[in-house]
């Protein structure tokens, strides 16, 4: 059987995402190689309460906004959150 590598991530969640998850992090498994978009998919699959927000969700990797195709490596700090509303 072919082996599939997975990465386990504790994704930081903020704003409405944190409220919907009910915790500061969301634990997800993504297949390797992983991207920012794959993390959003995994979060929405494993926390279906976030799925309605899927199209608007943003990803940060190591405290920088990440494009959809940004590769995710083991050890990266990954965050998922809705559009920003400071001010």
């Amino acid at each position: 059987m072919p082996t599939v590598d997975h990465l386990s991530l504790n994704v930081l969640v903020f704003g409405q995402c944190r409220a919907l998850v009910g915790a500061d992090t969301a634990s997800v498994r993504v297949t390797v190689p992983a991207t920012a978009a794959a993390v959003v998919e995994a979060v929405c699959e494993q926390y279906p309460q976030l799925a309605p927000l899927r199209a608007s969700l943003l990803v940060a990797v190591n405290e920088e906004y990440a494009p959809n195709d940004m590769p995710i490596q083991a050890g990266d700090t990954v965050a998922v959150f809705p559009p920003i509303a400071g001010g």
């Binding site: 409405q16 940060a60 965050a79």
Partner: protein, 152 residues
């Protein structure tokens, strides 16, 4: 009180009330002839619905990183900018409390005005902060914007 950055800017997230006059006093030094201050304050309504208070939260390390980026962008645009304060309040804020303060000082007013405006506009489009607004009869997460990665 926020610490001073290597650039002499004041960059901070704070749970405590923001006292603009004391920040201005800390920033102004002899070559400065102009100080522009912007305070964002909590409005008493959202499209007519009466606001009781707002809860602000941030992704703090990233928010500080982005505030420093806004300061660096302002300096790149305005080499004669003297000092900047970029301070955002977090936690529960009531009507008329200051949620965000931008202060820009410069030898002359054009730079102070422009850098102050740039600072608040960039904070709103770059810094990861969210707010939940509470009314007499319910609450909403205030609709946000997608970040604008490059300065205008």
């Amino acid at each position: 009180m926020p610490d001073t950055e290597p650039s002499d800017d004041l960059i901070a997230l704070t749970q405590a009330p923001i006292d603009a006059p004391s920040i201005v006093r800390r920033l102004v030094r002899p070559p400065v002839g102009a100080v522009a201050t912007f305070e964002g304050v909590v409005r008493d309504n959202l499209r007519g619905r009466r606001t009781r208070y707002l809860d602000y939260e941030a992704y703090a390390p990233m928010a500080l990183r982005m505030l420093r980026r806004v300061a660096a962008e302002a300096r790149a645009k305005h080499p004669d900018l003297d000092r900047l304060a970029l301070i955002h309040r977090l936690g529960r804020l009531r009507v008329s409390e200051t949620s965000v303060l931008v202060v820009a000082t410069a030898p002359h007013r054009a730079t102070a005005f422009e850098a102050c405006r740039f600072g608040i506009d960039r904070i709103k489009t770059l810094v990861p902060i969210w707010k939940r607004e509470y009314f007499e009869d319910g609450d909403v997460w205030v609709e946000g914007v997608r970040p604008m990665l490059d300065p205008p």
